[in-house]
Amino acid sequence: MATIQQQQQRRDRIRLALLLTPGLLWLLLFFALPLVIIFLYSFMTNDALGRVVYEPTLNNYITIFTQSLYVNAYWRSIWTSVLTTVICLLIGYPLAVFIARSPQQWRMPLLMLILIPFWTNFLVRIYAWQIILANNGIINSFLEIIGIGRLTLLNTEGATLIGLIYGELPFMVLPLYAAIDRFDFTLMEAAADLGANKVQAFLRIMLPMTMPGIVAGSVLVFIPTLGQFVVSELLGGAKVDYLGNLIQRLFLRANPINWPLGSAMAVLMMLVLLVLIMMYFRVTSEEER
């Protein structure tokens, strides 16, 4: 006869298993399995018709590391993602402070304003930016009126950056707001009282204390930006290749399509993300100490 405690433990284990099974099955089927397939494909060979041939090879990785097309795409994507993240942070931090310091009854409406764009499909919003940036678009019409003349804005890397910053900014602002809202601004008074000017007080007190929000926002912006392909195609004019564009092309539109090479690029991208994010966590947590 099992003791009451044993019976209870048994019952708890069964309940836990019942609760976790659906989620675990879902993740296993639709997350872990595809990841394994991608990983395995990255070591396979592609034939002339774009079919996967089950011959193990390292050629896909060698191609990526030796051809400038691919190497450049990695650098370009990493650089653009870093730039997007940093600019989002520089715009988002003051914005989050402003919202957190607003009177209580204004905070929710202001946060809603940040969220409202999400009610519209992302693609539609990016098309809207085409209208804004086009040669005969809103900005150029204005520039012509004030006598500066039209500039080429659309289909440039600058346009890609603008679109990315626009799209990712809310993901930076929300975690920053959460961190800054928790921050006790009396600490800034305490710092000032102890002889710190505004810059010193910010760097020594507010920045380290809101670092969790900065890290969360940066990660949320950096990851999707590294793999994006829509913005660079619609606003950048697909003139230069970013990681996402290359992977998308290799899987869907190349002639012949090349799943093994695309898989290898995806695996490497994940690796890059993993390394960069780990480095980032290390740096920022040191700063916190």
Binding site: D184, T186, E189, A191, D193, G195, A196, E288
Partner: protein, 365 residues
């Protein structure tokens, strides 16, 4: 304590929108003094402190620290330090880093910082806790860190904003005495904001009582308690009996007033009052004497009946009814054990109360 002035407030006004938080306050705080700003919440005491620190700027008037006009000088350039009500310790720094912060801001050499931090922590008896984080400390310890963090900068004036408010009663009493002795040792001027009259009386050299933005009275604890200059101060500091009446004349040093029901009482007035002035007679319960009736009423005596007798250990609190509308509270100190006494006041007993006129005040508003 010297006669030089550490802080001077000249006609200081602070408005927040339509609300006048501080209303034409003039005040001089002397060097080396333990000075308390006392008043109920919302009386303007914290706003006054925040203006001295520079967190708020006066709407009008000026603030001088050791003769220097502060004007719009930002907090980080003022020669004062603050101990905040919530302590405002930096949670991501250790105790030692918290205390070192002010010195680092002033570019003190590293070795010197280490020495001074050690000294400051010894001063507040926190040696050995250098590497703890604030959240690992008790409320009392956090309080000491806040003190050390401020004192290590050797401010010309230390501002304390209800620093003992968050502590429990016992710790509070301990810290009161410790703060007082600390102040005596370091010799720095303390400006202490509190709403606790007992705390102010215990610790202060001088007290300023504020209400509704106005400064009502400045004086030593004894002056504030024994010679309150208005009804509010008499009421706010300690317990007192109030009897309303009008002035009907003078009798030597004393002012005589008459209550609506015709009782006549004599007491001290702060200034000459003309006949007919509405006044309040104020006498502390421990100053009233209770006698057995023996025919004639003594001067300033009132006949009454004992209503309640409450023994509370150190003294016995007796309520005597004078007439239908009025009762007077009397505290008699138990200088002898009541167990040894043959008899004591019983409810229902007739008694005579005497208000010694030298201990009774006639207050005009």
């Amino acid at each position: 304590m010297s006669d030089s002035i550490a802080i001077e407030l000249c006609d200081v006004v602070k408005r927040f929108g339509d609300v006048v938080a501080v209303d034409h306050v003039n005040l001089q705080i002397r060097d080396g003094e333990f000075f308390s700003l006392l008043g109920p919440s919302g009386c303007g005491k914290t706003s006054t402190l925040r203006m001295i620190a520079g967190f708020e700027l006066p709407t009008a008037g000026s603030i001088l620290i050791h003769g220097r006009e502060m004007g719009i000088t930002p907090p980080h350039l003022r020669p004062v330090n603050t101990v905040f009500q919530s302590y405002a310790l930096f949670p991501h720094m250790t105790v030692a880093q918290n205390v070192a912060f002010g010195l680092e801001m002033r570019k003190t050499p590293k070795a010197e910082i280490a020495r001074q931090v050690k000294e400051a922590l010894e001063l507040v008896r926190l040696s050995g806790l250098e590497d703890r984080r604030p959240r690992q400390l008790s409320g009392g310890q956090q309080q000491r860190v806040a003190l050390a963090r401020a004192l290590v900068n050797h401010p010309e004036v230390l501002l304390l904003d209800e620093p003992l408010g968050a502590l429990d009663q016992k710790l509070r009493k301990e810290m009161q005495l410790e703060l007082k002795s600390l102040q005596a040792r370091v010799g720095i001027t303390f400006v202490f904001v509190t709403h606790d009259q007992e705390e102010a009386l215990t610790m202060s050299d001088r007290i300023a009582v504020m209400n509704k933005g106005k400064l009502l009275q400045v004086g030593t604890p004894t002056e504030i308690y024994e010679r309150p200059n208005c009804r509010f101060v008499a009421d706010f500091i300690g317990e007192t009996n109030f009897i309303d009446g009008v002035v009907i004349g003078r009798d030597g040093n004393y002012t005589v007033l008459e209550t609506p029901e015709g009782l006549r009482l004599r007491g001290l007035a702060a200034r000459p009052l003309s006949d007919g002035t509405a006044v309040t007679y104020s006498i502390r319960p421990e100053k009233v004497r209770l006698l057995a009736p023996n025919g004639e009423l003594p001067p300033n005596g009132l006949a009454g009946t004992v209503m309640t007798v409450n023994y509370i250990g150190s003294d016995t609190r007796i309520t005597v009814r004078i007439n239908d509308q009025r009762t007077i509270d009397i505290w008699e100190q138990n200088t002898r054990s009541t167990l040894d006494r043959d008899e004591y006041w019983q409810p229902g007993e007739a008694a005579v109360i005497v208000c010694p006129p030298d201990n009774a005040l006639v207050l005009s508003e």
